[in-house]
Amino acid sequence: MQTDQREADDARKADAPPAKTALSARGLTKVYGTGELAVWALRGVDLDLREGELVVLLGASGSGKSTLLNIVGGLDRPTEGSVHFDGAEITRFNDARLTRYRRDHVGFVFQFYNLVPSLTAEENVALVTEIAPNPMKPSEALGLIGLGDRQTHFPAQLSGGEQQRVAIARAIAKRPRILLCDEPTGALDSQTGVVVLEAIERINRELGTTTALITHNAGISAMADRVIRLADGAIQDVSINGHKIAASELSW
């Protein structure tokens, strides 16, 4: 059944016309601080995420990747510019609607996992499924990333890679439209990192979740549909990856 699904997905991707845009950002500017101390984290960024694609945002540390992702995910507001999702301009949302947007549509994965230490793996996932409109069961989400047997473990009882996979399960359990991963392998060694990337890849493929993945590691961009390079708060170039390879074949 899984194979059928994969084949179907592949088929759809292969002969589908250019996919719809899931989310689009225009002229995003973000300035931290004021006056002499002002830091221009973003200087007019345009970005489109297409339905179902896996985009890697590549850039040196401090280039504004996290800032961009946070704004797109509704965690932060731009100084200028707009973000459209589903025909609505989320940058004009008030706090309550922005919360709704995050709750219903966005899944986050962070570099440092950010699990709640006093909750088990399953409970960490339940934290999200409790408030999402159409979630999976926590056990199902954990099963998807291969941690079905770790449900009752507390974060402290899991390795870094396992913790990050729990974080991924937590992000996708609500069946988000958009999955945003900020340096998900940043704190992991390459072998463990690959396992985590495989999980993300699988979610993208099997659930068709639009995924944006931040990294400063150019090697990882090989698994992307598209690679967007960021430097000094501006997009340097966008390239379509003609030689997409499986995450399992990555190494760095």
């Binding site: 996290s66 946070n70 995910g73 965690l75 932060d76 507001r77 706090d95 309550a96 919360t99 709704r100 947007y101 995050r102 709750r103 219903d104 966005v106 986050f108 962070f110 440092f112 950010n114 709640v116 230490p117 006093s118 909750l119 409970e123 960490n124 339940a126 934290l127 999200v128 409790e130 408030i131 999402a132 402290a156 870094g160 704190a187």
Partner: protein, 787 residues
């Protein structure tokens, strides 16, 4: 269960030490409030029920001699419900095996046995048989103090006749809840007795057949006692009435109500302070607790939890902690309230004790502290929740330590690195450090407030009993005597000096106000019982005019030069106008003095006295007592040393308990603040300290860095606490101003010392508790993750 609630309980369990410490602080506030409200309500309820069930009279009056038929006319006064005439007087008692003479208040019982008003609560035995004039009922306290039992005998000198009395009953009376001898300040159960005898027996002894010399009334509900008092005075004047008075001026009740008033002052002040401190501490601790949860708050918001949901989660945390504290406090307060109420019960002779803390006081205490805690933390929660999720999740920016005087070369040469880290940490967060200092300071302040009581009472004893009284024995006489009586006393064994006094019952009036009191006529300059200004020492009495205490001046609204009208209530009952020539301060009562000659002149009598003060050679004291017991015109004997002992003993019983309770509360405050701030500092700085360990700092050094900060703040807090304590204690002392007592505003240096030591001790203890955790710091885990 919602995973957030699960998190709540696990987090609470994880920080159980802190939870307990905060709960303890809240419990102190609630505890003090429940305790003092509980004690007041119980005392009041007990008194009310006792008075009600035993028909305590509403109006009292004493006369020289009035025919029994007058009772009818008294009953005709509008508003009077029932009237009971009786015969009362003082006598001396000779108790076997007790050298000192005891004073007794004799009170007659009607033929029916149980009186109509001021009924007796018979503890054992029976009422007297009226055919046997030697049967008596003894008040319980006196019987207990001397081990008297039914069937035992007492020897009394009643109106110059020596009588042997047989005890047939032991009882309590609502008139003598606070059984106090004439001129005494505290009940002295060994030296003051109340005896009830048949009316015929006392009429015989005092030559009052067909007459009475005392009357008590109850009034119809809603009757103003003052109106009845006035009419009664008019009616009794020609029979030698010494001024009727309402229940509020009845001596036992007056003491009891003064006590309840004092308690009320305490119940307003202390819990307010404790609750405020508790709310402040809770706020401080929760604020920092929530600050450590910054990242988690950001995470919840990233998941799509609303501000309200996240805020509610932390509000629940605060509420659970508060509820634990409230429950602890309620239990503690109820237990302590019970303890203090039973202490009062020991001081006051009640036949039963209703410990009835009003549920409302629990609810009020609980609601107040819950409101204080939640309101106090609402701002902290709101602030944390307000952060944009991205902001909240970002690791807090590295603290921007700037170059300051602490990093200048001069100082860095002076302190070692860890010490400089402590100083930087303290000055980096001046507000937080300031609040911690304030919290610890409040603990010192509360202790000073408690200890100040002992200082004040000691000062009171020093002034009242030592500086102002040099006599050893004071003898009240049955009637006025010429100065020759002083010679007679001088000839008694061991008597070294004698000083006479003439006391007169008067009603002092000024403008629309009046007060019934005993005016004392004294020699110009006294050597034994001294007219003493608490502010300035002994006072010479000017030849004409009144010297009054500032309390009396306040009661009457009089000032220097005011002409006070004195309605004399005995003898020929003259009415005179006398100017106030001096006002002085006293801690106790509201006395008024005049020169002895002036009093005699006012009374249109020759030189006479009715009270003598004696200085006695202690070696011949027993011989003197034996003589006094046989001296016919001796009505009452007071021993200064016995009064001091009684005072000290009573204070030791009650006050020390209160001081102990407050010391405990204050220690809880100190532990609450120090433990919490050290624990939070540990959770905030765990990584930093572990890093230091990894690069080679010893356990001791990192403990020093963390706990040194707590101790530095504690040391800074000590003088601040002394200052606040000084203000609060003196403020509280001056707010105690009843007719009975003013509290001297003194704080001994030792009290500051003890307060600081105890707080420091509590702080060190809390620091040691946290140190145990420091030793278990997991270096690897802390460095590995960035939680």
């Amino acid at each position: 269960m919602h995973p957030l609630d699960r998190k709540l309980f696990r987090d609470l369990w994880h920080i159980k030490g802190q939870v307990l410490a905060i709960a303890l602080v809240i419990a102190t506030g609630v505890g003090v409030m429940v305790q003092s409200l509980g004690a007041i309500q119980s005392l009041q309820a007990t008194a009310d029920a006792y008075y009600e069930r035993y028909h305590f009279a509403d109006v009292f009056a004493h006369v020289k001699r009035a025919p029994k038929s007058l009772a009818r006319r008294i009953a005709d006064i509008p508003g009077v419900q029932s009237v009971e005439p009786r015969i009362v007087d003082y006598a001396t008692l000779d108790i076997e095996g007790f050298n000192e003479p005891a004073t007794t208040y004799l009170s007659s019982l009607p033929d029916l046995g149980q009186p109509l008003l001021n009924r007796l609560a018979l503890v054992s035995g029976r009422f007297v048989d009226h055919s046997n004039p030697d049967e008596v009922i003894v008040n319980k306290r006196f019987a207990e103090a001397h081990g008297l039992t039914i069937g035992g005998t007492l020897t009394a000198v009643i109106n110059t006749t020596k009588r042997s009395l047989r005890i047939v009953g032991i009882a309590l009376s609502p008139e003598h809840v606070y059984a106090i001898g004439p001129g005494a300040l505290m009940p002295d159960d060994k030296r003051y007795a109340v005896l009830w005898m048949g009316e015929a027996a006392l009429a015989g002894a005092f030559d009052l057949d067909g007459a009475f010399n005392d009357v008590t009334l109850t009034l119809l509900p809603g009757t103003d006692p003052e109106g009845v008092v006035q009419r009664l005075d008019t009616l009794l004047a020609r029979y030698g009435g010494t001024g009727a008075y309402a229940r509020k001026d009845q001596i036992s009740n007056w003491f009891l109500m003064s006590e309840i008033d004092q308690l009320k002052t305490m119940a307003r002040l202390l819990p307010t302070i404790f609750l405020a401190v508790a709310a402040f501490l809770t706020n401080m601790v929760v604020d920092r607790l929530i600050a450590t949860e910054r990242g988690v708050i950001g995470l919840f918001k990233a998941f799509g939890y609303s501000d309200l949901e996240v805020g509610w989660h932390y509000m629940k945390l605060v509420m659970v902690i508060s509820l634990i504290g409230i429950a602890l406090g309620a239990l503690l307060g109820a237990a302590l309230g019970h303890l203090t109420t039973s202490l009062y019960a020991e001081m006051y002779a009640f036949p039963f004790l209703l410990f009835r803390p009003h549920p409302a006081s629990f609810v009020a205490a609980g609601a107040l502290s819950l409101a204080a805690a939640t309101l106090g933390t609402a701002t902290a929660v709101r602030r944390a929740v307000r952060l944009a999720p991205a902001e909240a999740m970002r690791p807090p920016a590295p603290q921007s330590f700037s170059r300051s005087f602490l990093s200048s070369g001069r100082l860095s040469g002076f302190f070692d690195q860890p010490t400089r880290m402590i100083f930087r940490q303290v000055f980096r967060w001046p507000v937080r450090s300031g609040l911690t200092v304030l919290g610890i300071a409040m603990s010192v302040a509360v202790l000073i407030m408690a200890l100040q009581w002992l200082d004040s009472i000691n000062r009171l004893i020093d002034v009242y009993f030592v500086a102002a009284q040099r006599q050893d024995v004071t003898v009240g006489l049955t009637e006025v005597r010429p100065p020759s009586v002083q010679e007679a006393f001088k000839n008694l064994p061991g008597v070294q000096a004698v000083e006479g006094e003439r006391d007169v019952d008067v009603r002092a009036r000024f403008g629309s106000r009046s007060k019934r009191l005993s005016l004392a006529g004294m020699t110009e300059r006294q050597g034994l019982f001294i007219v003493y200004d608490d502010a300035g020492g002994a006072i010479d009495l000017p030849p004409g005019g009144l010297v009054i205490s500032s309390k009396l001046a306040e009661i009457l609204g009089a000032e220097l030069g005011s002409r006070i009208t004195l309605d004399v209530l005995e003898g020929q009952r003259p009415v005179v106008d006398v100017p106030v020539v001096r006002i002085f301060d006293t801690y106790i009562g509201y006395p008024a003095y005049m020169r002895l000659e002036a009093v005699n002149r006012m009374m249109r009598e020759t030189e006479v006295v009715n009270r003598v003060h004696l200085r006695v050679d202690p070696r011949e004291q027993d011989a003197l007592f034996r003589k006094l017991k046989d001296t016919p015109y001796v009505a009452a004997v007071t021993l200064r040393q016995a009064s001091i002992d009684m005072f000290n003993e009573t204070m030791a019983r009650t006050l020390l308990v209160f001081v102990g309770i407050f010391a405990g509360f204050a220690a809880a405050l100190a532990v609450g603040v120090v433990y919490n701030s050290a624990r939070i500092a540990l959770s905030e700085r765990g990584r930093e300290l572990a890093t230091l360990r990894v690069i080679g700092f010893t356990r001791f050094e990192i403990s020093y860095i963390l706990l040194g900060q707590s101790l530095l703040l504690t040391v800074l807090a000590l003088p601040v606490g002394c200052f606040i304590g000084n203000r609060l204690a003196l403020g509280m002392a001056s707010s105690f101003n009843t007719e009975l007592y003013r509290i001297p505003a003194v704080i001994e240096p030792s009290s500051y010392g003890y307060a600081m030591l105890l707080t420091l001790g509590a702080a060190v203890l809390s620091a040691l508790l946290v140190r145990r955790r420091l030793d278990r710091l997991d270096l690897i885990a802390v460095l590995k993750t960035r939680e």
